[in-house]
């Protein structure tokens, strides 16, 4: 089997106080730590397991600046065989444009995969679009929110998709296909720092984005960024433990649940 996994190197912003720069069109990412996108870790793990079970080769591909090499090395340390970094320092906000670049890469390199995996979404923009658009451009069957790959047999795969409210959907998809996987689909193996360093010896290509820029075009652009209005926070119940608990019971009584 041939499997390709898309991996994104993303900033970790949950706890950060963000600042806007470049005329309020971008966020200052200078001091923000980065990591391999959480969803993509699951995608890489899933790909590694599929290859372990069925044999074959796996690619990990990333689009970004040179630091994204760490994302590749994580993927290689986790069991994928080859890596490619499509290098660019541009901030590509339009997932359509990213998908076009990936399509060009796959076609120019002549990669005929059985499965292309991505994560459901990236932690930074949460667009949840690149994988699906890529499938559309390649005209390959697609499914996202994949929480289980049940069976892979001759030319087809059966997957479980996560729906709302605790429901799931089972679908059969013919290969080649593109799937976007959800967190929790597996338990990713830990790869040590030493392991990731050692992965630097594995085959990796560094390619300029210009090689794959034919026909690519950003169709949406950021007019500006702004901080959402601060929410009214909670009324903090003050006092010692006894007073606080007393207060809580008052609230419960008011709502008629005590």
């Amino acid at each position: 089997m041939e499997v390709v996994v898309l991996a994104k190197w993303v900033p970790v912003t949950q706890e950060e106080e963000l600042k806007l720069v470049r005329g309020e069109k971008a966020v200052d990412l200078e001091e923000i730590p980065f990591r391999l996108n959480e969803w993509d870790t699951y995608a890489i793990e899933e790909a590694s397991r599929i290859l372990e079970a069925h044999g074959g080769t796996g690619w990990v591909v990333s689009l970004g600046g040179e630091e994204a090499d760490t994302a590749l090395r994580r993927g290689l340390a986790m069991g994928l065989g080859k890596g490619a970094l499509i290098e660019t320092e541009e901030e590509l906000v339009d997932p359509f444009e990213r998908a076009q670049i990936f399509k060009n890469f796959l076609e120019k390199k002549g990669i005929k995969f059985d499965l292309l995996l991505s994560g459901v979404q990236a932690e930074d923009d949460q667009f949840a679009a690149t994988g699906g658009i890529l499938a559309g451009l390649l005209d390959l069957p697609y499914a996202t929110m994949v929480m289980g790959i049940e069976e892979i047999s001759e030319g087809e795969v059966t997957v479980l998709r996560e729906l709302e409210g605790g429901f799931m959907e089972r679908v059969r998809i013919s290969l080649p296909a593109v799937l976007s996987v959800q967190t929790g689909i597996n338990e990713p193996r830990y790869v040590s720092v030493t392991g990731v360093l050692a992965a630097a010896k594995k085959e990796r290509e560094f390619l300029p984005v210009d090689e794959f820029s034919e026909g690519r075009k950003g169709r949406i652009e950021i007019l500006k960024l702004e901080f959402p209005p601060p929410r009214e926070g909670a009324e903090i119940i003050k006092g010692d433990l006894d007073e606080v608990v007393e207060n809580i019971f008052e609230i419960l009584k008011e709502k008629g649940v005590r």
Partner: protein, 314 residues
């Protein structure tokens, strides 16, 4: 005249309420809305949208992105190209919208949470970076756009319309993806969506051994125990107790969030609770932004004290 094609979603034949969010969005933009749905009867939709387009596909096949592309192409053939093709930002929307955008070669904006117009045209607002920043997007080509709309971002303006129902011509299925059926997660003992009071525990509960204390608290209060994702992921409580986008959405009278930090996906599952009381040791926990009342204290201490009082009262 332009229109917005809204692709709706049903589950077990019942229309999902979130399918109407894109309709409200079209109202805000000022475009007539054509709501596209699978086989079924949709009388309650009278007055809500301008057209209801009923596909020949059954629900399972309709929601299949590959078939949906063919369905949409059929609509375009019959009614002309819409200005926008909209989906709810749901599992289905995330499945179909990007794929459709790729097939049609239309730009895509997901999770649209706001909209306005400026001198140059339409501006779509989408949150980025864990909700910390709102991005205002503009289209470069003024043509069509595919979008998914955030649930609850737009409200109905109570407009009453003359709804026309149309049946669409039958289309052949795309054989490359097939719907095999629905499954439900293992049915838990209790349906948390029915509880009036929920005691919900998060990571702060720290260990499985601490769960019984909160079970006791919930029970003494006459409520039910629920949890956030990390607790369910670890198997300390069954998935049926999980509150959040990938678990259940709850609207109890009282939601007592203990040791829950307030990740967005969790908030989405409980923000419509009538009263949210958050107990957390960390004063900067995001949950305090959403709760009505906050207690900055160790959840274990609070639980112990509450149990003590409840038992003391016999």
């Amino acid at each position: 005249m332009g229109y917005a094609l809204v692709v709706g979603e049903t589950r077990g034949g019942v229309i999902e309420e979130r399918s109407l969010d894109p309709v409200y969005f079209s109202d805000k933009i000022g475009l007539p809305s054509y709501l596209l749905l699978p086989q079924g009867k949709y009388d309650p939709l009278k007055g809500v949208c301008d057209k209801v387009l009923v596909s020949s596909f059954e629900e399972g096949d309709f929601l299949n992105p590959l078939n949906l592309v063919r369905t949409v192409e059929g609509v375009i053939g019959a009614f002309g190209a819409p200005s926008l093709i909209l989906f709810p930002h749901s599992s289905f929307g995330m499945d179909a919208a990007p794929f459709l955008a790729g097939r049609l070669s239309w730009p895509l904006i997901t999770d649209i949470a706001g909209f306005y117009r400026d001198e140059e045209g339409m501006v779509f607002v989408k949150p980025l970076y864990s909700e910390k920043v709102h991005a205002h997007f503009r289209l470069r080509d003024a043509r069509g756009v595919v979008g998914t709309v955030r649930t609850g971002a737009f409200e109905g303006e109570g407009m009453r319309k003359e709804t026309v129902f149309e049946r669409l011509e039958a289309i052949e299925k795309d054989p490359r993806r097939e719907f095999l059926g629905y499954l439900e997660e293992e049915v838990g003992d209790v349906d948390i969506t029915r509880a009036e009071l929920l005691v919900s525990v998060g990571r702060g509960v720290k260990e499985k051994e601490n769960i019984p204390t909160f079970e006791e608290l919930a029970s003494l209060l006459g409520g039910t125990l629920s949890c956030s994702r990390p607790v369910a992921d670890r198997g300390w409580l069954p998935k049926s107790r999980q509150v959040g986008t990938s678990g259940k959405t709850v609207k109890p009278k009282v939601y007592l969030a203990m040791g829950i930090s307030g990740a967005f996906q969790h908030i989405a599952g409980m923000k419509n609770s009538e009263v949210i009381i958050a107990v957390n040791r960390d004063p900067s926990a995001p949950i305090f932004q959403y709760a009505h009342y906050g207690v900055i204290e160790d959840m274990h201490k609070v639980a112990q004290k509450m149990i003590e009082r409840l038992k003391g009262q016999g």
